[in-house]
Symmetry: C2
Subunit: 246 residues, 2 copies
């Protein structure tokens, strides 16, 4: 909601490097042809580890824009360690999950196949591209990582012992959001994951398995039926308010 | 996230009426041609005041489907009294606000023109249509009402004395979400409104005016820049967990 006049770009190279960076083709095209910037124009760069740097365009060609790095404007900060484990859903709404979860500060996007998952192909590059764009716009200093999709059962087989689970169940058996947040807020220094079901809900075996894990806190998201993408956003919001950096 | 095999339709007439209802053209088309239902198929109807009723198709024509009302399956319940006051944004994302806010249990959608509002035409019928569709899908028994858009200043001039305000400010001056929720949860029986700024943020005068109102609690939505639609969803989620029915 803040005014965003500045252009921020996520790059894969180290900063400040030797002080000059030639941007990759897509980003060069964006600056030269879409934004029509000229030499001397300012922008900001971040790479997820070296903070945010101011830069100035020193040379502009249609497919190769070179910038001079001027100064560090923000120190790198660590972001909350929270995964979002979700079942793939249709195209527009999976883009939406990647974008909104990034804005809401997710650390890692983990698509999983459940027994009732309908969409069976996940383009992780597409999730990554959506996360990059959202990170550039929301002034994050990192881009969430994206896991290769795998089966939920396999993920649970190898679940890290110390990573707590906020499980948003659809059968209303969980604690009310208000009560659950009090429990969550006692574990602010631990790694977390939020697990959200597919549109048709978890299979009974899957649900019972997640519920029985010692890491799990079951949280109700109220009496209305939420779509999977809405549930993901609501869960991340509650998590941020109780455990994260809000 | 629960399994939704049932068709639920919102209608404007009273229930159960005389026991038979002929649905309007769009809904008849949907049942007859899109869902290809036959006589005898079941569905559910609600109108926002008489609870939810089971019905069975008794006669089916392409543009006029008649149903027989069988029994009440849910009593009407009152939903939380919370307004969402928001500045209009571009088409797809204003549809999104109407849909998601409905899922998240908003009572009343209030589009307002602020000094920095860019989109200046709001189609209230379109907001209503989105709200109806979302209410049908999320098993709500009501559809949020939609106000005719007006100027923010005018709305504040006539602000109801007893309606509290959760103001999600972009300048990070508010209480942390966690602290603010504790304050909010002391006012669960009062009418509320959530006020969300336009994409460019509120003008300084607008912001100060809202902040100085005795009804206002300022709530921070964390260190990242949220888009207006994301902020609206996050704010409603927090409100539901602290004040509403979650």
């Amino acid at each position: 909601m803040r005014n965003k006049i500045d252009i921020r770009l996520f790059i894969e190279t180290s900063l400040p490097g030797d002080g000059f960076i030639t941007l990759e083709q897509d980003q060069s095209h964006y600056l030269a042809n879409v934004m029509r910037l000229k030499a001397g124009a300012g922008l900001a760069l971040f790479n997820g580890k070296d903070g945010e740097w101011a830069a100035e365009i020193s040379d502009i060609k249609k497919r190769a824009v070179t910038v001079r790095i001027t100064e560090r404007v923000k120190e790198q900060i660590e972001e909350p360690d929270v995964w979002l484990v979700f079942a793939p859903i249709k195209k527009a709404r999976i883009d939406f999950i990647a974008q909104k979860a990034t804005e809401l500060g997710v650390g890692h996007l983990y698509p999983v196949y459940t027994r009732r998952t309908i969409v069976d192909r996940v383009k992780t590059e597409r999730l990554h591209a959506n996360a990059v764009e959202a990170a550039e716009q929301c002034e994050r200093l990192t881009v969430p990582t994206v896991a290769e999709p795998g089966k939920l059962d396999k993920l649970l087989d190898n679940w890290p012992e110390d990573r707590r689970i906020m499980f948003c169940d659809e059968d209303l058996s969980g604690k009310s959001a208000h009560e659950a947040l009090a429990i969550l807020s006692n574990a602010t220094n631990e790694p977390w994951a939020i697990i959200i079901g597919p549109e048709g809900g978890f299979d009974e075996n899957e649900r019972n398995r997640i519920k029985s894990m010692p890491q799990t806190t079951v949280v109700s998201l109220g009496p209305r039926v939420l779509r999977a993408d809405t549930a993901a956003m609501a869960a991340l919001t509650l998590w941020q308010s109780a455990v994260g950096d809000w």
